[in-house]
Symmetry: C2
Subunit: 279 residues, 2 copies
């Protein structure tokens, strides 16, 4: 497995592969890799001749009061995990390699970004669209792999790829969970032992909603109430949002008669966690 710090190195490697007619899968990450990322890399390795992983804590997708500086980092461990999972090239750029000081271009998706995390993290998805567009132009993959845990991110990326005619297949991959149900996340590293236990309330509340849906519940408000009531039983949990939206347009739903996304964001202490399912 190769590693690269510069755009030039990545381009050279990718062009060599292209000359040989090889297909390329791409997994963009912010590092501190866990089994969720591993599942993306492994799938990319199955479906492509070569796999590129980027590890970049992207400053443009963090708000001024968010956890950019404290975001967990672990380059050596990340490199090992990439190699073990089947990556052929890991790209670790510095911020100065990715952004000019006088950068002045933005890539924005409207509509899809007004609700859910978009409402709570202004500018977040602009930062995601910008960095992912850049990586797509640097890596020029055939397929790119994203976790369904970041459901809104996945929908936003699919939308700009369609609108800007990127010739890249966007592959969404299922949420990977701990044995007890907590969705894997790099931010789980922030949780104290007690908070780790409380964090179970996210998946538990979603399971209750799923059960109600399977029994025929069609009112989005009732589904939300089930989740909100469940969350309120956990003293360390503070709801950020609970939403039931159309799975494609991400617009709010009242009566459930088409595919939906049920998505929640919850503070456990100071750590903001998200979880979701589609139905």
């Amino acid at each position: 497995m190769k590693t690269a710090n510069t755009i030039k190195e990545v381009r050279e490697t990718v062009k060599e592969w292209r000359k040989q007619g090889l297909s390329i899968g791409f997994v963009p990450t912010m590092g501190y890799l866990h089994e969720g990322h591993m599942s993306l890399i492994e799938r990319a390795a199955k479906e492509n001749d070569k796999v590129v992983v980027s590890v970049f804590v992207n400053p443009t997708q963090f708000g001024p009061n968010e956890d950019l500086d404290n975001y967990p980092r672990s380059l050596e461990r990340d490199t090992e995990i990439c190699e073990k999972s089947g990556a052929n090239l890991v790209f670790f750029p510095e911020a100065s390699e990715m952004y000019f000081e006088d950068k002045s271009t933005s890539v924005s998706v409207s509509g899809l970004t007004t609700l859910l995390c978009g409402a709570k993290r202004p500018g977040h998805f602009d930062g995601v669209c910008l960095v992912v567009s850049k990586f797509f132009n640097i890596v020029t993959p055939d397929r790119a792999y994203f976790g369904e845990k970041d459901a809104q991110q996945l929908a936003v990326i699919k939308r700009f790829v369609r609108d800007l005619n990127f010739d890249i297949e966007i592959v969404g991959c299922p949420i990977v969970r701990e044995c007890d149900g907590l969705a894997k996340s790099s931010r789980n590293a922030y949780l104290s032992k007690e908070e780790r236990k409380s964090a179970l309330i996210l998946s538990q509340s979603l399971n209750k909603a799923k059960e109600a849906l399977s029994k025929g519940e069609t009112s989005a408000n009732k589904i939300k109430d089930i989740i909100i009531n469940s969350l309120s039983t956990e003293p360390l949990a503070k709801m950020d949002y609970v939403e039931v939206v159309d799975s494609l347009s991400l617009s709010p739903v009242e009566n459930i008669n088409a595919p939906i996304l049920v998505a929640i964001a919850v503070y456990i202490g100071k750590t903001r966690l998200i979880d979701n399912f589609t139905y």
Copy 2:
């Protein structure tokens, strides 16, 4: 020479060329081709194995009161000119092929777009950035050719190509003029005989400014005054803007001590014409 109406056809042709290891030049146009476009296509043919020309009157770069519906069109003649100039593929998409009804992605360049045409045509450069990004992802050229007549457009495209890491060389090509000095433009077709004569005032006023610069004038205001005074001698001409800006940042200049762009926009009757030079 091939013609194509669909993105799929273009991708298939380009992929075939790529397999053969051929380089690709690209000339995006709004059609009604003239010698200015021909010079771009000919240069692209010299510098690349294959040349793609797009002919698309892009609705997203026209304002609500601009000349979208009346913009001159001439598909048959354009096809002939492309073939004669050395194009290998001409792409004539319908608007419905290029844009989804629920399109929701924007590509914007800030800073460079606040002055000059950007100030007079709000949203214009967003439309340009969007359509050019799309064409770049469809055609995936090695080099793309743009006229220096649209100096701000060229600067904006260079900027977003840099910021989004498109692996495409942007080549600016000199303004092509009529024998009497009028810059070639599809919009010249709007001019009556009398207006055609009046339109000469654009290049004439710029020549006066050039002369003053070559004699050592370093005050941007004096250069502007020379142009404004010259334009005012022509009764059919109505100044839209006269600007002296830094040639890279397009920000206003007071004392001329680095490369500048002198750019003007002038209404001749109802027709808005632009011209410029760098110094």
